[in-house]
């Protein structure tokens, strides 16, 4: 792979425009889940953490790398799960909701 900085810069700039474009029409209702979902996506730094931990040459570096792996997995997994929890509430069909309410009232 070429590491020519200019190629990386090109990808970087194009990705900026994609990022702006895809969320430009978001409704205020979804600001919270969107923030949370975007937050989960940058948890992909986990890959970087795995790479540096997996190639560590000394114990202190390995330990530091493992800390990064733990932190990044919290970010990634927790982020996706909590976003899903929020979104379930938006998409549950009404009938199922009524059933669960009735169950609550019965108790």
């Amino acid at each position: 792979m070429s590491t020519e900085p200019i190629i990386w810069l090109t990808i970087f700039i194009l990705a900026i425009f994609v990022g702006v474009e895809v969320i430009s029409k978001v409704s205020a209702t979804l600001h919270t889940p969107l923030m949370s979902g975007a937050n989960a996506i940058h948890g992909v730094i986990l890959i970087g953490a795995i790479l540096v931990a997996g190639t560590a040459q000394s114990t202190p570096i390995l330990v530091l790398g493992l800390v990064a792996v733990v932190l990044a997995s919290i970010n990634m997994v927790g982020g996706f799960v909590v976003t899903d929890r929020m979104l379930i509430m938006f998409s549950r069909p009404r009938r199922e909701l009524e059933k669960s309410v009735r169950r609550e009232l019965d108790q």
Binding site: V22, V26, S27, T29, G48, Q57, I61, S73, F80, V81
Partner: protein, 460 residues
Amino acid sequence: MTPAWAQLGYLAAAVCFIVALKGLSSPKTARRGNLIGAAGAVLACVIVFVVSDLNHLLPILAAIAAGTAIGVLGAYRVQMTQMPQLVALFNGVGGGAAAIVAIIELAELGASTEQVFDLIATAFTIVVGSVSFAGSVVTFLKLQELMTTRPVVFRGYPILYGLGLLAALALSVGLVTVPSMFFALMLAAVGASLGVLLVLPVGGADVPIVISLLNAFTGLTVAASGYLLENILLLVAGTLVGSAGALLTRLMANAMGRSLINILFGALKGGSTLGATTVSDRPVKAAGPADVAILLAYAQRVIIVPGYGLAVAQAQHTLRQLVDLLLERGTRVDYAIHPVAGRMPGHMNVLLAEAQVPYEQLKEMDQIDPEFKQADVALVVGANDVVNPAAETTPGAPIYGMPILHANQARQVVFMKRSMRPGFAGIENELLYEPTTTLLFGDAKDTMGKLLAELKALTV
């Protein structure tokens, strides 16, 4: 060199993330979008294990398991009302991870790397990752009310901040000319202090905007680490989050009618000194549940303004029953959802959706605000700042300029409040002292239950 199939896999993951963000911007596709994003992340992790020649596999897998357990546990145990804090924490640890990755890269390759761009990216990741980490911790403390939610400013703050920025710049230059651990660790420390300083002067109500900003910061650090590690997926994913996060921050700030600069540094101009910390003893008109029930029973049009207090008291379900009863009686009822009701934009929609309030009854501000004039009763439940006229009348108030719901235009305003304590922004609400305003004191759930019982008695 990464094989072509792995590159293609990374590309597929990057596409997943783009589709995920796109999906998250519309209610119908949001959940699927999020799941696609998660699938992309899993795919990327599988690829990195297969393609890279990694040592220490067992400890790494154990670390992933530990992080996953903590993340899932946190995500499932969190109350919907505490969502913003959790997002802040998740964001902070991501920023911290990026900073650590950059430091390790420097330690491993420091002596051998001559690339100026690599070192610039390293310095950037360390500083901004630390800012994000420390800033997120402070936002967490503020939202969890473990520290004051009021803006914290002190004499010499601008000088200290300026010095911090200069130090960060000088250390970065140092790191690029002489790559060394010393500079890297100093940079991390200075970055962390800058993160704390960045969030301290932000008032409680504005903190969510800062979370979104820090989210964008973390995205950019991930992009920079992608460049360092020559991993294109990290570059694309990080940049996506960086730019989408920056735009989202602006959208949120706009929803509050504020500029980002004003949110971050407004307190430095001494603007927030109006905050009332003491409980006022001015006379108000209080009533019991029975009186309010009669008021509601004879109203044709009721608009409910829900706030964070409603969710804290877990009164959403009772409120929904009250609304159902009113609808049965033929009253027109809507919920007026302020864009920043709750603790962050869109938070109230999540909270009410959890209570199974039908989506159609939730009206956005622009749509419902003109209707207050025709409303007989505006029932404000656990909200305060979003109906505070000070946002229009008091130029010095921290919420000045924020669009508000004009509940004061309704014929009668009923406030359900726990106490006379001011709202999250810490300012007195003049609306409480208006002659058309009635206060119904007590725990929202408890009072709402009594109100429901009284209304049922009137209905039979």
